[in-house]
């Protein structure tokens, strides 16, 4: 479970890695910020800063439009 975010490690992933713009095509990192129902996690849960949370939300929404990510998911 490397992709899950540690609860104690509440630092903004994008600030730490100096990522200014979040790419909507990078499904691998975006997948870490949605739950099993593909709902976007709150910044409270992920520790993302407000600035990046806004960019993250638009990136996920763009990925959904381009069918890189589902809008909803039924976990089996």
């Amino acid at each position: 479970m490397e992709n899950t975010i540690n609860k104690n490690d509440k630092q903004c992933y994008f600030c730490v890695n100096n990522i200014k713009e979040i790419d909507y095509k990078d499904g691998h990192t975006l997948r870490r910020y949605v739950g099993s129902y593909m709902k976007i996690f709150s910044k409270k849960k992920t520790g993302t800063c407000a600035k990046h949370q806004r960019k993250l939300a638009t990136a996920i929404k763009r990925a959904r439009i381009m069918a890189l990510m589902p809008f909803v998911n039924q976990p089996k």
């Binding site: 890695n17 200014k20 959904r64």
Partner: protein, 156 residues
Amino acid sequence: MAKNKSAATPHYELLYIIANKFSENELEPIVEKVAKLIEEGQGTTTHTEDWGKKKLAYPINGYTHGYYRLVEFDMEAANLARVERNLRMMPEVVRHMIVKKDLSRVTPIPRPAAAPKPELPVKAEKEVKEEKQKEKTNLKDLDEKLDKILETNDLL
């Protein structure tokens, strides 16, 4: 701010999905058609990428798979609306997205898949070694067994 924006032609990134009803041989005319649209808008393509056939996260217009293509280009903002309109009117392109890209702010994506890759061959080698050792022991056992059988045969 406004001066900076008007100084250089903006950079855009277009990702589009071609319907799965076409075979891979039939894609080129469609790709050329899209390239022509950008040409008509006096844009210059700087980069193209072929993602190949991918499974869509959900079916679009009944298609479960699509061919993803990525084009990066510079174009005047005034001409972009026409390109977008024409793309929407293309029945071959199931879906498209044009996003403005600020090249100075883009950082290359750190691929997490790259990190575990070097570990994999090491593990594989270990497994192979173990298998080889098992084979060796098996061979020794077999030899012993064969010898025993041969001895018994001699007795008979």
